[in-house]
């Protein structure tokens, strides 16, 4: 079945400490045993066992938890893809999921979106949660005539003016009448984001949103996501294998390699031994990215006044 399965409803508890609880983990079998507080031992680490890192969370106390996944396990073709993964996203925070290729990032996102069922574990969503989704791959098909406006109105049946406002918001104003197949990769990315936004989502899920976008466009994209969080109070789940720009906008980073290796604020994760072991040289090159142009370009290439103000959150934009 590919029906979107809604996880159990009901308000997920906001108990953060539960995250530290692990269970013994055999190599193949899922280690899902609930949070009994036991040691989390990974059999592939021959030389040592270790605990999940307890790291301070930066989220404001009492923030509304939007979605909570507990003890997710997924086996694909005999291989354990996700092993006892917990994720929780609250309103107003940007959570970045980072990990090497094949680490299970996209699998986790698919489970959280209800696109496929987990083998074990539970996903609870806040009742009535509206999700906006920007998928990793978007193959356009010339067989379907589709204007940008019509495409966006598939996400929610809204007025023309709402579509126009959403396009302006993502910096894609003036594209409403264009054909979807005629857009560049960067334009398409923004249009898909606009479709997510007209749904007025509480949670935004973006899977590798910087794909096919140049470096400058990437920085702008993440700045935009930070701004949306600030202005609309969205919870954001961001997937990336990119280490640099992403982290500047993130409140929390979850480093995943089948299981959650480490998590916390970006700077903490970047120095975590598990993270360094996974990413090696790339990790040492980590730096919060500042882009230092004093103007921006809209999609037509015209310079426009800077719009982000580096206000709330820890986005450090110059």
């Amino acid at each position: 079945m590919r029906m979107p399965t809604r996880g159990g409803v009901g308000q997920p508890a906001g108990d953060w400490e539960r995250h530290g609880g692990g269970a013994s983990a055999p190599v193949v079998a899922c280690s899902h045993q609930g949070g009994d507080g036991g040691h989390h031992r990974h059999a592939h680490d021959d030389d040592h066992s270790h605990h999940h890192q307890h790291v301070p969370h930066v989220r404001a106390p009492g923030a509304v938890v939007l979605i909570e996944a507990k003890g997710l396990c997924l086996t694909r073709e005999g291989r354990l893809t996700l092993d006892n993964v917990d994720v929780e996203i609250a309103a107003g925070e940007i959570v970045t999921l980072i990990g090497p290729n094949g680490a299970g990032k996209t699998s986790l996102v698919r489970l959280m979106l209800g696109l496929e069922p987990a083998d074990r574990g539970t996903i609870s969503r806040r009742p009535g949660l509206v999700v906006g989704y920007v998928p990793q791959r978007f193959d356009r098909d010339a067989a379907i005539p589709m204007t940008v406006e019509r495409f966006i109105r598939l996400g929610a049946n809204v007025d023309q003016s709402v579509v126009a406002r959403a396009l302006d918001e993502v910096g894609a104003g003036g594209l409403a009448r264009r054909q979807l197949v005629a857009l560049s990769g960067g334009e398409l990315q923004r249009v898909v984001l606009a479709r997510a936004l007209v749904r007025d989502p509480a949670l935004l899920v973006l899977d590798e949103p910087a794909r096919g976008v140049d470096h400058l466009g990437e920085a702008d994209l993440y700045a935009l996501i930070g701004r949306l969080r600030d202005e609309r109070g969205l919870g954001v789940l961001l997937v990336s294998h990119d280490l640099h720009v992403v982290m500047a906008q993130s409140d929390r980073v979850l480093c995943i390699n089948r299981h959650i290796c480490c998590h916390g604020v970006p700077e903490t994760v970047a120095q975590h031994p598990e993270y360094v072991r996974l990413f090696g040289d790339a990790a040492r090159a980590f730096a919060v990215y500042h882009h230092d142009h004093d103007h921006e370009h809209d999609l037509a290439g015209r310079p426009v006044a800077p719009t982000h103000d580096g206000g709330a959150g820890n986005g450090e934009h110059a």
């Binding site: 979107p4 979106l113 098909d141 067989a143 379907i144 204007t147 019509r150 598939l154 898909v192």
Partner: protein
């Protein structure tokens, strides 16, 4: 002026043209033409079954078309054999079984050629009623599911994540396709039915900016070609079903060639 049987044929052709438009577009967008052909080929088996069980033939076609659609829908998830290979197997198995069953009944009451290529001038009042009521039902259902159909055609995963009922919509689409084919079969026949679905959509594509305008134009093309085909058929004394299909293919091929040449020239 028009004789009743020509008038009935005209109404049936225009009706089928209109009903086929949205489904034809969906078949093109979702690359289901082979899928549709497989259901159509099973139609002959439905006729044979209808005769054997002494039930309404259109009903027989609908039952068998739904059964084949269900099998395809169920097997669509298997990964062992590519889908088009599976369709190739089922499509020709159904056609062969249909011809065998029909030949057993031939000479009694079955006009094999009529079902393979259609016999629109023999459309009776009951057939016309099937087109109007069945076709109306199909169009209303398409209208209810339209947004879901389009969302899935554009990006299935995104549609599923946004809460569109993907699996249910696919099942509904298969049922609608089976119904449309059953209704149109009497008119254009088992072998030419897919033309009625695919050709108007192909002819309409270059002139449409949205899915909805493409459907409207496909409906226009289908209805006009139906009327033109029947006029040509009675004027030149050729079979009506193939005449309509020839008009449709002339329209769609000329549009495609015009666009292809325009692209390479400019």
């Amino acid at each position: 002026m028009l004789e009743p049987f020509v008038l009935r044929a005209l109404l049936a052709a225009v009706g089928v043209g209109l009903v086929a438009a949205p489904l034809g577009c969906l078949v093109v967008w979702r690359r289901m033409s082979y899928f549709g052909a497989t259901i159509a080929h099973a139609g002959l088996l439905g006729v044979a079954m209808g005769l054997a069980l002494e039930i309404d033939l259109t009903l027989g076609i609908i039952i068998v078309a739904l059964a084949i659609g269900g099998v395809l829908f169920g097997l669509g998830r298997q990964r062992l054999v590519p889908t088009d290979t599976l369709l190739g197997i089922l499509s020709h198995a159904a056609l062969a079984a249909g011809i065998v069953a029909a030949s057993k009944l031939a000479g009694q009451r079955l006009d094999l050629m009529g079902y393979l290529f259609g016999d629109i001038l023999a459309v009776g009042n009951v057939d016309l009623l099937w087109v109007l009521i069945g076709g109306g039902l199909v169009l209303v259902t398409v209208g209810v599911w339209w947004r879901t159909f389009v969302a899935i055609a554009v990006h299935e995963e995104l549609a599923a994540a946004e809460g569109f009922k993907v699996v249910r919509a696919e099942a509904v689409l298969v049922v609608l396709l089976a119904l449309t084919i059953a209704i149109a079969m009497k008119i254009v026949g088992v072998l030419l039915i897919i033309a009625f679905l695919v050709m108007p959509a192909a002819a309409a594509r270059p002139f449409a900016a949205t899915p909805e305008t493409m459907v409207a134009m496909a409906g226009l093309v289908g209805a006009l070609a139906g009327a033109a085909g029947i006029a040509i058929s009675s004027w030149a004394d050729i079979p009506a079903g193939p005449a309509i299909v020839l008009v449709l293919s002339a329209a769609s091929l000329s549009v495609i060639m015009w666009r292809a040449l325009g692209r390479s020239g400019g």
